[in-house]
């Protein structure tokens, strides 16, 4: 069996969630129908909403089910932007460097098509948002529509001081959206006390099914919908609701979160002993319990990934792929790494199925992969031509 250490990409569905999902597929009725069968579908859907809400410390009415994290992020950013610009000009968006592409591409779309002005807030070497720069921006501009940021970085695992940022923004009356897709169930989230206007989450990252996520939208916040139709879900997200997926999501949300920190630390210690030159990236303390992220000097993360794959271990370079073409991680570049350093990135993420033996198999395969990848070096790059 291949060793799967890419749980941040997606984690296997929990058996309980699969059972609930498949059982629910037999339910007859559209949750919006008035007859008893429709009401039954609505009942199980709302139970699921309550379970998801309970996992986030919010009211069920504040849960808007979506097709996943990307839709949630788009709905939050574009929806809040339009809502905040209704009758008042607030074109400015504060957004840190190193965000997920769902955010980057959404805000750049607003910049291109809607005249938004983007204020990019720098990251420090550990990947933490610069609080002084954010504070400065908040007090410099009175036309800010929103602040949006990752609760925890999906590549390097750095956790942001979200409550502190929400409080800073609140002082200026600016709503904050947090993309918690990678943070959800890996750290405590209490929406009610967070001071946030909106939070994006996804089911398949926590052992639920693919194709469903949620935007937690405060009663106080409003968004202009992206999708128009039957007016379901507070008129924010029209479309027949996927009760079976929501039920499975609810089961995963209620399932006890696995204890992963010890496995993560085993990865970190294992990498350090196998390849002493590897550098742990992200915040060494304020990091996700499932995330180990390293750069390996003098080799391509891509080569390492390939060689580890051949050895039966699935890991990630962590960075976005455009058409399968690896790019140097914009997160690492934002943290001040050079292009050459950033190319050596490898993200190892553990999850509920991970065993110590999995970690040990990865660590055992690493030295040979590193030696080979070092030999290949940057042969596919413009630098280091030998031909």
């Amino acid at each position: 069996m291949p060793v799967y250490l890419d749980h941040a990409a997606t984690t296997p569905m929990l058996p309980e969630a699969i059972d609930a999902y498949t059982a629910a597929l037999g339910i007859v009725g559209n949750p919006s129908s008035i007859h008893s069968q429709g009401q039954n579908a609505k009942r199980v859907l709302e139970e699921a909403r309550e379970r998801v809400a309970a996992s986030l410390g919010c009211d069920p009415i504040e849960i808007v089910f979506t097709s996943g994290g990307t839709e949630s992020v788009n709905l939050a950013i574009k929806g809040m932007y339009w809502s905040r610009n209704d009758g008042v000009a607030r074109p400015r968006i504060l957004v840190p460097r190193g965000e997920h592409h769902a955010t980057i591409d959404a805000v750049e779309w607003l910049e291109h098509y809607e005249g938004a002005i983007l204020e990019w807030i720098p990251l420090d070497a550990r990947g933490r948002v610069s609080i002084p720069a954010l504070t400065e921006a908040l007090s410099s501009f009175d036309d800010i529509s929103l602040v949006t940021l990752l609760w925890a970085n999906n590549e390097v695992g750095t956790i942001q001081p979200v409550s502190e940022i929400a409080a800073l923004a609140a002082a200026h009356g600016v709503p904050v959206h947090a993309d918690a897709v990678s943070a959800y169930r890996h750290l405590p989230i209490d929406f009610a006390s967070s001071g946030l206007a909106a939070v994006s989450i996804s089911a398949h990252k926590i052992g639920g099914p693919l194709g469903i996520g949620a935007l937690v939208l405060s009663r106080a916040a409003s968004v202009v919908p992206l999708i128009h139709g039957g007016g379901q879900q507070r008129d924010v997200r029209s479309g027949t609701q996927d009760a079976p997926a929501a039920i499975a999501f609810g089961v995963a949300a209620r399932h006890p979160a696995p204890a992963l920190a010890a496995l993560r630390d085993r990865v970190i210690a294992g990498v350090r002993s196998a390849v002493p030159s590897a550098v742990l990236r992200g915040d060494p303390h304020e990091r996700l319990d499932n995330n180990a992220h390293f750069t390996f000097p003098g080799c391509e993360g891509d080569s390492l990934l390939f060689l580890l794959d051949a050895a039966g271990v699935s890991v990630s370079t962590g960075s976005a792929c455009q058409a399968g073409i690896p790019e140097s991680s914009h997160v690492l570049l934002a943290m001040g790494l050079s292009d050459a350093e950033a190319r050596g990135a490898l993200r190892i993420t553990v999850g509920h199925t991970t065993t110590e033996a999995d970690v040990d198999a990865f660590v055992a395969a690493l030295p040979a992969a590193f030696a080979r990848a070092s030999r290949a070096g940057f042969s596919d790059r413009a630098v280091g031509i030998r031909a």
Binding site: D302, S303, F306, L307, D309, A310, Q322, A323, G324, I325, P326, R372, A373, R375, A376, G377, S379, D380, R381, A382, I385, R386, A387
Partner: protein, 385 residues
């Protein structure tokens, strides 16, 4: 695996021959198009997906390796520089020489692979002493040994062409269909992969600029104007737009492109006849002709045939290693000198001349200079003749 039918079948055959195979798609652009258009058969996201589907069906792992930086530097920039210098480059050849069988092969060897297998129609044979030889494919009409003529002994030793013995492309397509490949009927690609709409002139004009220049006849008289010398290729007849006929009423052809003065020289068809070609950048595919027993000495003319385009017929010729003219640029460095038995038509510097002995590829040179059959005295004599 480009996403085309040939590399898909080649991969399947390599697997069946007992090799441990991994499918690799070369990303040659940072900004690939999404969907295939026109006659291009590679380099879009759709093509990459086609390649991945074929790999899935074969049951091999599939990866995209990014060689876009190298490709830009070694192929695209070279293409622009060559056109800017009034030469006619062959980018597919450069890609084979510097990317597929160089950068890709190096990376593959470093990562623990033994060879690169491609869907080219060509054959690698091993002689009784274990030396590699490159030969034409069984399917003469599809033969691609010309574009592989740049491969050296070392590269041949790590190259596999599983389609080389196939009698026809139709057979490859039939095999692809039998294997369930969705690309079985995908059209062949013809255009240059990095010029999306096939408009080479327009593409070049954007990159090297287009300035109005003179069209001269052979006597140096201005007889017309053009919108940029780079748009012309030696041997070209169309697109000259000279408003009046030649004295003898015969069509005029591009004889020479002079980018430094932005002029194009035109003349009658017979002035295109070339009696000799030579190039200082040459290589041997495997053992050189002396080591192969074809000639006692590379400096002495030996019989061979020469091919100057991917799809032209080979012409009997005699070749030898001579010294380039001491013209201030080449300074007498060794060059491959090729004298065809009958004149070659429409040869441009920058093109590659590939030498054959029967079906075997002997080697190649990039053409630096040509000697006209009509007026050999007007061009510098090669030293040492």
């Amino acid at each position: 695996m480009s996403g085309g039918v040939d590399s898909a079948v080649a991969a399947a055959r390599a697997v069946e021959a007992g090799h441990e195979v991994v499918g690799v798609h070369l990303a040659l652009s940072r900004m690939p198009g999404t969907l295939r258009t026109g006659s291009r058969g590679c380099c879009t996201v759709e093509d990459s997906m086609d390649a991945q589907r074929a790999a899935n069906i074969i049951g091999i792992p599939y990866y995209v390796w990014d060689f876009s930086e190298r490709f830009k530097l070694d192929v695209v920039d070279d293409f622009i520089a060559e056109y800017s210098a009034g030469r006619t480059p062959n980018p597919c050849m450069r890609c084979n020489e510097r990317i597929k069988f160089a950068a890709l092969l190096e990376k593959a060897l470093d990562l623990g692979f033994d060879a690169v297998a491609t869907g080219h129609y060509a054959t690698v044979l091993t002689d009784e002493h274990g030396n590699k030889e490159l030969h034409r494919a069984a399917a003469w009409a599809k033969d691609q040994s010309y574009v592989l003529g740049v491969l050296t002994t070392e590269q041949l030793a790590h190259s596999m062409f599983p389609l080389g013995a196939t009698p026809s492309k139709a057979e490859v397509r039939a095999e692809a269909a039998e294997r369930g490949f969705s690309v079985a009927n995908k059209p062949d690609s013809h255009d240059i992969c990095f010029i999306p709409d096939g408009d080479t002139r327009g593409w070049l004009a954007e990159r090297v600029g287009a300035e109005t220049g003179d069209i001269l006849d052979r006597s140096g008289t201005v007889i017309g104007s053009h919108e940029g010398a780079h748009a012309f290729t030696v041997g070209q007849r169309k697109g000259l737009s000279i408003g009046f006929p030649a004295d003898d009423g015969k069509p005029r052809f591009v004889l020479e492109v002079q980018p430094k003065t932005n002029t194009v020289v035109v003349g009658p068809k017979e002035a295109l006849d070339i009696a000799e070609i030579a190039g200082g950048t040459f290589s041997w595919a495997g053992l050189d002709p002396a080591a192969s027993g074809i000639t006692p000495d590379l400096a002495l003319p030996f019989d061979c045939s020469v091919q100057i385009r991917a799809h032209s017929d080979p012409v009997p010729a005699r070749a030898r290693i001579g010294s380039s003219p001491n013209d201030g640029v080449r300074r007498g460095a060794p060059e491959l000198v090729i004298v065809p038995n009958e004149p070659l038509n429409g040869v441009s510097p920058g093109q590659t001349a590939v030498l054959y002995a029967g079906t075997r590829v002997l080697g190649q040179c990039t053409i630096d200079r040509t000697v006209s059959a009509l007026q050999p005295q007007s061009l510098p004599e090669p030293a040492g003749v």
